[in-house]
């Protein structure tokens, strides 16, 4: 038995075990590893990436899922502080918090992890084809496989069940062809133990087994498929290369239907919860289908459209009005197949009440999310409390805390959720896991020490060219020997040779020797893609004492041998051209130095509400001094009047405790009646003037977290402000919390949803109002069981487990009446009585209601002060005035401006527990900077030649990151090297040619282009 990771100081171990390598586990791992902790990332599959790696595009941006997740996978793969333990199951975890021992079974791959370089020759030679689980059985893979081409780790695995040798004792083709001798049929499962201070559970989910709902014919009718299967069909990396085909005859389906809530909101299946993502993914799939082929008719059958996330409602509206996706509000009871055409018939009741029958070519079942079943027994063994469905129970408002101390949870295993929520919970769980281990930060991480760099300035270029066979991936098409011989004829080349695998450990050692022996001062590797392998080779250069910018790669595999497999001679000639181009550029490469500066290891949090307080306390618990700035006289914000949640938590009491903790914490300095006036500097080193009670003060900090909150819309409609019986939900909550006597005697209460939300002026959903209405209705029923409550709504968006409370409200007699956007309720006061007239689309007539109290579910707006802060920090806002994150999917907590993070209502409408999770997540992101005593700036970034700059401000307008600023004293532009992302837009736009991007100079590009043919 091998034991690792027990070298921490004292009793606590500065390492974190993350169980599950989906996007939440990946985010948690990266945050912790970038903040000074060793991370063991344990994944039961052969590679990390989880379900996100299987998705085609993602809503609401239609970004390619693989393109987004690949860089994260690569970052994990090359991170010195993350150890991926893949194809491994956790057996048990023992010991006290801070010093857990994790027992893991590493399943035999029958491939030596240290020898396999992922070239794939074994799979190309393997004669056995089996259904491909990654493609949900829609395509085939070999018995030796990687789950997808971008898999991390890129190590092949033999599927013992299907391997011909394991079954019949004959074959061993993979072994014969593996040029690295990586196949090991004698490999056994291995039990290892690792030490970790805290545990993050991120085992993820699986989709509902649609065959249980037999009436839809899944598994019997070939053209009834699940939504996740359709993701694979849409994916360019899927079984049909992204061409939409239906399974029965591989024809393009012209009529596609989606059936929502298959395995969700279905108490008869014991699955009463809403799966959160299905409405949006169905809309996305319909929109993408239309993009593939405008002629495809798409129709979504739904109960409520749940588009509660940021940007979702706009996406939904666009799908309806611009893409022409049809939406039919109808529960579908069965699907009938025409056995000859394999077309499918659906009966439904349309909006006019008529029963219709419609035929479709393909039906997609929007299957719900279930917690990872394989993890259920382990969770029970680990005494981690699960809810009735097997999702992990959270503790009150702290979504990432579990019942077991030292164990934290994130992602869908906590509750059904979409990718941004999953990512931010990953960060949030990392913050908790790190907070517990703050005093042993940095004790388990290895910092690589490189030899001093050789100064090559003034030397003639001496270029070495290393040509890779990549097994037969390149050498099977390209004559690599001819390429390396050709390289020797190029000017400045003093060494050239070819290697079986340029990336293998032995070749790397060889390369270092050759660099020294031949006094190379530039290196060209002709192999695969710099996207995946450049960092590896650059690291080798550094180990050989060369600056990493003296490296250039020629992509002769992905963009040559693989795509010209039938043109061997031409491919060889192209490889020579690519090498010549790279050599030409390499001769002009210059060493670049990134200069260190000392990080101000202090945080600034702007906004003293629930999110801001949580963020400040989280930073302080990690050991970083934090300034907390609150504009008003008191801390607390909106949560002061949040008295209870539907689940029984008490935010206002939680808040009181939180305020006390913040006030008592010696690392936090609270400023009330304060605001930020200006900001200068860059990530790791900012300076601001703040005004406190009118007095000015200067502070320095390394990161800033924006938590400026939001406010309730004050309605201008429905007699609000004119009639004192018209309240907002918050005002009703206040009265309910104080058990207002007046409420005990009322007979009728009407609630109107979407007041100030989802309209032309504010086309977004405020997310919380449906649940708030349900919560207040239930509370009022408790107080006054005889009261009649009518909720006038458009779609009920009680997502996740909030669905129970909606169901409970219905069971308790609360009446829900739908209204349509273009037929809003009419409110009048007649003889002192409120009268509400609403058109009921089911009855197709007006209904008149009387109300003793009318409650308006008023929208959430960004705080009116957020605009001025956006100007001070130069931060972007979205169309609705909320702050805009760097990426809606994978960077929900970061701004594009490095060093700035966001959380709470400032980001968009959300629940109190979500604000807490987001605030912890933002603090976790901030720790990746604050944990560093020094940061490096410079390298391949823009530099301004002051003598040529005329301050025309073209670059200021062009820069997507708002980096160039006018230095008013000098009258020229200043580009902060720490903030510059090196894209080069400014350099191209500059009419005077005053901006140069290092490592991307015109000379370097022209050398390459001139050497084209």
């Amino acid at each position: 038995m091998e034991t690792k990771g027990n070298l921490g100081t004292g009793n606590k171990i500065g390492a974190i075990a993350v169980i599950g390598g989906g996007i939440s586990g990946i985010q948690a791992s990266l945050d912790a590893a970038n903040s000074g902790f060793k991370v063991f990332l344990i994944e039961s599959n052969t590679s990390i990436g989880g379900v996100m790696a299987q998705l085609d595009k993602t809503f609401p941006t239609n970004d390619c899922s693989t393109c987004m997740i690949s860089p994260k996978l690569i970052e994990v793969a090359k991170h010195p502080n993350i150890e991926i333990i893949s194809y491994a199951d956790v057996l048990d975890i023992s010991g006290p918090p801070g010093n857990f021992s994790v027992k893991i079974k590493k399943k035999a791959r029958y491939v030596d992890e240290n020898k396999c370089v992922g070239c794939g020759i074994c799979a190309s030679k393997c004669p056995k084809k089996v259904p491909d689980a990654f493609n949900r059985g829609l395509g085939k893979r070999k018995a030796i496989y990687v789950s997808f081409p971008q898999a991390v780790p890129l190590i092949y695995t033999i599927d013992k069940e299907n391997c011909i040798y394991f079954k019949n004792g004959r074959c061993r083709a993979c072994e014969k062809f593996c040029e690295n001798n990586a196949i090991d049929f004698a490999q056994q499962d291995e039990i290892i133990e690792i030490g970790a201070g805290t545990i993050i559970l991120a085992p993820g989910f699986e989709t509902f087994d649609a065959s249980i709902r037999g009436e839809y014919g899944y598994g019997r009718y070939p053209n009834v498929i699940t939504s996740i299967e359709y993701e694979r069909i849409l994916s360019a990396g899927g079984p049909s290369q992204g061409h939409i085909q239906r399974p029965s005859d591989s024809q393009v389906p012209k009529r596609i239907a989606w059936i929502q809530c298959v395995g969700s909101r279905d108490a008869s299946m014991g699955r009463g919860y809403c799966s959160y993502v299905c409405c949006m993914y169905a809309i996305k799939q319909a929109v993408i289908s239309k993009e593939h082929d405008r002629e495809i008719d798409t129709c979504i059958f739904y109960i409520d459209i749940r588009a509660q996330g940021k940007g979702f409602d706009r996406y939904f509206e666009r799908a309806r009005s611009e893409s022409g996706v049809r939406f039919v509000r109808s529960m579908i009871s069965r699907v009938v197949e025409n056995p000859i055409s394999h077309n499918l018939e659906i009966n439904y009741i349309d909006e006019s009440g008529e029963i219709r029958t419609e035929e479709f070519d393909m039906v997609i079942l929007s299957v719900g999310l279930s917690p990872n079943q394989a993890f259920q027994d382990l969770a029970r063994k680990l005494e981690v409390e699960l809810n009735q469905f097997g999702f992990c129970e959270s503790r009150g408002l702290e979504l990432v805390s579990t019942s077991r101390p030292g164990f934290f949870v994130c992602g869908v295993f906590q509750s059904p959720k979409d990718i941004p929520e999953t990512v931010l919970q990953g960060s949030s769980a990392a913050a908790e896991a790190m907070g517990f281990l703050a005093d042993v930060r940095g004790t388990m991480v290895a910092e690589e020490v490189y030899p001093e760099e050789r100064d090559v300035r003034g030397e003639e270029p001496r270029i070495g060219v290393f040509v890779c066979h990549c097994g037969i991936n390149i050498a099977g098409v390209v004559d690599v020997k001819a390429v390396s011989e050709f390289a020797k004829t190029l000017s400045h080349v003093v060494f050239a040779d070819n290697y079986l695998f340029a990336c293998s450990t032995d070749t790397q050692e060889e390369m270092k020797k050759i660099i020294k022996e031949h006094k190379l001062n530039r290196v060209v590797v002709a192999s695969c893609s710099p996207r995946t392998h450049e960092p590896l080779f650059q690291d080798t250069l550094r180990e050989a004492g060369l600056n990493k910018y003296l490296f250039e790669m020629a992509n002769i595999r992905d963009q040559n041998s693989w795509v010209h497999a039938n043109e061997k001679e031409n491919a060889t000639e192209k490889a020579k051209d690519l090498v010549r181009m790279s050599v030409a550029r390499a001769a002009l490469l210059e060493p670049l130095h990134e200069v260190p500066f000392n990080v101000v290891q202090k945080g600034l949090v702007v906004g003293g509400g629930l999110a801001g307080l949580t963020a400040a306390l989280t930073l302080a618990e990690q050991g970083y001094e934090t300034y907390l700035i609150e504009r008003s006289a008191d801390l607390g914000g909106n949560a002061r009047t949040l008295y209870y949640t539907e689940e029984g938590a008490r935010p206002s009491e939680y808040l009181k405790d939180l305020v006390q903790k913040v006030k008592d914490n010696r690392f936090i300095r609270v400023y009330t009646n304060a605001e930020v006036i200006d900001c200068s500097g860059h990530v790791g080193r900012f300076t601001s003037t703040i005004s406190v009670n009118g007095k000015k003060e200067e502070i320095s900090y390394g990161v800033a977290i924006v938590a400026t909150g939001g406010e309730e819309y004050k309605p201008k409609e429905y007699l609000y402000g004119e009639n004192n019986k018209v309240l907002t939900q918050r005002e009703l909550e206040e009265r309910l919390a104080s058990c207002d006597e007046g409420l005990k005697n009322i007979k009728d209460l009407v609630m109107i949803q979407c007041v100030g939300s989802r309209d032309d002026e504010h086309p977004y959903c405020s997310r919380v109002c449906c649940t708030e209405a349900v919560k207040n209705a239930l509370k009022l029923k408790e107080l006054n069981p005889k009261v009649n409550i009518y909720v006038l709504y458009r779609d009920i968006r009680t997502f996740g487990f909030k669905e129970f409370y909606y169901k409970k409200a219905r069971e308790n007699g609360v009446r829900f009446i739908r209204y349509e956007a273009d037929k809003k309720p009419q409110v009048r006061e007649v003889d002192g009585i409120l009268q509400i007239v609403v058109y009921d689309p089911n009855l197709r007539s007006d209904i008149e209601l009387k109300a003793d109290i009318l409650t308006l579910s008023a929208a959430i707006r960004p705080h009116s002060d957020s605009k001025s802060l956006a100007t001070v920090f130069k931060l972007p806002c979205d169309q609705d005035g909320f702050f805009l994150e760097a990426h809606l999917k994978l960077r929900p907590l970061d701004f594009t401006n490095a060093g700035f993070f966001l959380c709470g209502l400032a980001h968009g409408p959300k629940f109190a527990d979500e604000s807490v999770a987001q605030a912890k997540g933002a603090a976790s992101r901030a720790c990746t900077i604050l944990s560093k005593a020094q940061m490096y700036v410079g390298g391949a970034v823009a530099q301004v030649d002051g003598s040529r700059c005329v301050a025309c401000l073209t670059c200021v307008r062009t820069c997507p990151y708002n980096v160039p600023r006018l230095d008013e004293e000098e009258g020229v532009i200043y580009i902060d090297t720490a903030a510059c992302q090196g894209c080069g837009n400014c350099a191209t736009a500059c009419p005077r040619g005053a901006v140069v991007v290092a490592h991307n100079t015109d000379e370097q590009f022209l050398a390459k282009i001139t050497a084209l043919y």
């Binding site: 690949s70 990396g237 992905d558 963009q559 000639e573 837009n985 991007v997 282009i1009 043919y1013």
Partner: protein
């Protein structure tokens, strides 16, 4: 002209089109070997002179993908 195979020079963004070109490789999608790719960090950096020089060097067409 039937056998004419234009030499196409592709100036591409590292984040999107270069990644797509790599993906074409992992899926073994075949295209003419007369295509050459030059990677830019962002195609915002493509200068007019780069395009003209490519023609001067013998390219029949220049493709900018970003």
């Amino acid at each position: 002209m039937e056998d004419f195979q234009p030499k196409i020079e592709a100036f591409v963004c590292t984040y999107c089109t270069y990644t797509a070109a790599d993906m074409a490789g992992s899926q073994r999608l075949q295209y003419p070997s007369t295509v050459r790719v030059v990677k830019y960090l962002c195609t915002g950096k493509v200068e007019i002179v780069h395009i003209l020089k490519a023609f001067e060097a013998g390219a029949d067409a220049v493709f900018v993908g970003g």
